[in-house]
Amino acid sequence: MDRFPFRPGFVRNISPAVLNLQRVYEQNRQRITKKDVGSVPDVAAPQTKGTPRLLLMGQRRSGKSSISSVVFHKLPPSETLYLESTARIQKDSLNSFMDVQIWDFPGQIDVFENPNITFDIDAIFGEIGALIWVIDAQDDYLESVAQLNNTILHIQRSYPHINVEVFIHKVDGLSDDYKLDIQRDITIRIQDELSDEGIENAPVNFHLTSIYNHSIFEAFSKVIQKLIPRLGQLEAMLTNLCRTCRFEKAYLFDVNTKIYIATDSTPEDMASYEICSDFVDVVIDFTEVYGSWPRTQSWRARLEGEPWSQPVEDQVACELAEAGMVLSDAQRPIMLREVDRFLALVAIMKEGSYEKMPQINLNVDVVVKGLTEFFDITKPKEVKAAAVVEGRKGQGS
């Protein structure tokens, strides 16, 4: 029983201090290993070719570190109060179905006009997947918008393909009308500035976010989805599944971060994302309590003895985790199926369809197999060799 459904050592509710220590350790370690191979000990040097990178930028105290801690380290939002200000570039990585690096920039540094250090602009922006600019909506944002404009103008010249994602952050506690007003205001300011400079149709997107609800995860989902090769294919698979099984909505979740990397083509709706994401949480919690410790040999022996007399693995229908929950109103079930170590398929089903679970399971089996193959094909070449071995282990049912 060496295999765990979800990353075994995943971090839950760690304190800011521990998180800080971890990061310092991780960075020192990376620096040392880099020195060993004899490369330039430059913080901004690209170390991992081919992995997409997300850049978190914005003014100081706008909430960049809080965002990355909450999304990628599961820090409880209330604890982000105690995070210290970031003094140097913090690098986190998302080790999941695809490796993504998240670089958290200190807000006080201006990358383009810094008198002390000249940054290797190419190293920073060279391979980036998206630039996330965080604006504190509860503060005076004019300066931040001006800085963002400046940044966009700089990178548009050399890297016109970079997606700029603007997170209008800390919008919890603001009224809905006010939120939209701010979003409109910021959008207009940026577009005006850009068109003055002759840049039209720059890839700039806006998201209203807060770490105190699901909006930050949804925004990150949208950002990550743009980095996925052949996303359309994935969505088509899910749409198909929804049609055949009469699902209301299906999501493919990255279990550790609860970012969804694909959904079917029905209109987005925050409520169903929330409930699916919370369902993943419930399942993770149960897994931690009941599934993360090894059972004794005698327990296993008893299970495999009379009257069953077959190995435990043969007594179960599905090697991967599967869960279902029937809501009381209208008997609407929610189902979850693990796809691989990182991904889970979560769907909201139509009323009263829980009796058809066996047939649905067959369909889901097929789709899960399809998804596994999909990720096998779209994986970058060098990772593939290693993954094949692992995939075999995972699939070997």
Partner: protein, 390 residues
């Protein structure tokens, strides 16, 4: 589910025999006291009204005494006296309303705010006065001291701070009790006091438990589960029956939850289940399911206290399987078991079949069978398990 209670249960009761009668419906007076702003009403609304921790921020102060009757498990009613903690009220409780407030108390819950800097002495003085009044009027009462808002203390310090507070509170309690004991002859001479046998001074030894709590994690559920645990009538019957059910269906762990509060009423673990390294798993389950309920109510738009889910099952490949389901009218049951489809399905059927054993949880007490007959029932359960396998 109306067929599970009321009239239809009578014939089943006869069938089981009448060797053991269950206790009558109980009403328990529970005092909830503590300094103003210590979080009494917040925790009450989280436990019994399904508020989320963050929704309690906007609560105003409780004025005087907020009386509520919480129905728990059909045959236990908690008479919850949420006493506003401002000093003027406190003085009032201790003087004019003394007999009214402190007589016939089943449980006193005193909440200390760990963050109250400087005010600790005053808080302790009030506590001592309350304990004296309690010992005077309801000697049998159990005392639960909750050291609350522990989330405000640095995690590394929590244990030390709590231990320190425990020692302090225990010392103060002992002092208060010994003072009352000394005064006893005078007190019994007083016409207003309850009739103690004045010839012998009873050994006033308070039944007291202390808990470190916070509304932001599961510690609150732990404290309240132990408060409730002592109040639930027929607990021994529930426990024996859960155990025989567990053995019959080959489970690793069974938890029985109350329907609205999702506090653990009773639990049973197999030998393997007891090896679970998560000692706090019971309150954790309460917390998880409770917040899940909240998510559901947001999604479906139904009221917070309404029933939110009826069935949950989770099979984690060859590791374990579990299900939670609506059990009796007032309870949910959570069963954690070894993996295996046949085992799982027969366990689900057997749990459904076991509902009549627990029918007494729903209310008007009916005669119930003894534990020896339950063992016979266990035999029936395993038979069914074998049957569905073939």
């Amino acid at each position: 589910m109306s067929d599970l209670d009321g009239n239809s249960s009578a014939p089943a009761g006869d069938a089981f025999g009448q060797t053991q009668t269950l206790k009558k419906v109980k009403k328990q007076k529970v005092l909830l006291m503590g300094k103003s702003g210590s979080g009494k009403s917040s925790m009450r609304s989280i436990i019994f009204s399904n508020f989320l921790a963050r929704d309690t921020r906007r609560r105003g102060a409780t004025i005087d005494i907020d009386l509520s009757h919480v129905k728990f498990l059909g045959n236990l009613t908690l008479n919850l006296w949420d006493c506003g903690g401002q000093e003027a009220f406190m003085e009032n409780y201790l003087s004019q309303q003394r007999a009214h407030v402190f007589s016939n108390v089943g449980v006193l819950i005193y909440v200390f705010d760990i963050e109250s800097r400087g005010d600790v002495e005053r808080d302790l003085a009030t506590y001592v006065n309350i304990i004296s009044a309690l010992v005077q009027y309801s000697r049998e009462a159990k005392v639960f001291v909750l050291v609350h808002k522990m989330d405000l203390i640095q995690p590394a310090m929590r244990e030390a701070v709590f231990d320190q507070r425990v020692a302090l509170v225990r010392r103060k309690t002992a002092e208060a009790v010994s003072i009352v004991r000394k005064q006893k002859p005078d007190a019994s001479a007083h016409p207003q006091s309850p009739p103690f046998p004045s010839t012998q001074i009873p050994d006033v030894d308070l039944d007291m438990q202390l808990f470190a709590t916070s509304i932001w994690d599961q510690s609150l559920y732990k404290a309240w589960a132990s408060i409730i645990h002592d109040l639930v009538p027929n607990l021994a019957v529930i426990e024996t029956q859960l155990a025989s059910l567990g053995v019959a269906i080959d489970a690793d762990e069974i938890l029985l939850f109350e329907r609205t509060s999702f506090l653990v009423v009773s639990k049973w673990s197999s030998r393997e289940g007891e090896r679970n390294p998560y000692g706090d798993r019971f309150e954790r389950m309460s917390n998880i399911l409770k917040s899940w309920k909240h998510t559901c109510s947001k999604f479906t738009g139904t009221p917070r206290n309404a029933e939110q889910f009826s069935d949950f099952e989770y099979k984690m490949g060859p590791n374990f399987a579990m299900f939670a389901t609506k059990f009796t009218t007032n309870t949910y049951i959570l069963v954690c078991m070894p993996p295996g489809e046949a085992r799982f399905n027969s366990a689900k059927l057997n749990v459904a079949a076991a509902r009549p054993w627990f029918r007494f949880l729903d209310g008007p007490p009916v005669p119930m069978s003894s534990s020896s007959q339950m063992l016979a029932g266990g035999g029936y359960g395993s038979e069914a398990a074998g049957g569905s396998e073939s």
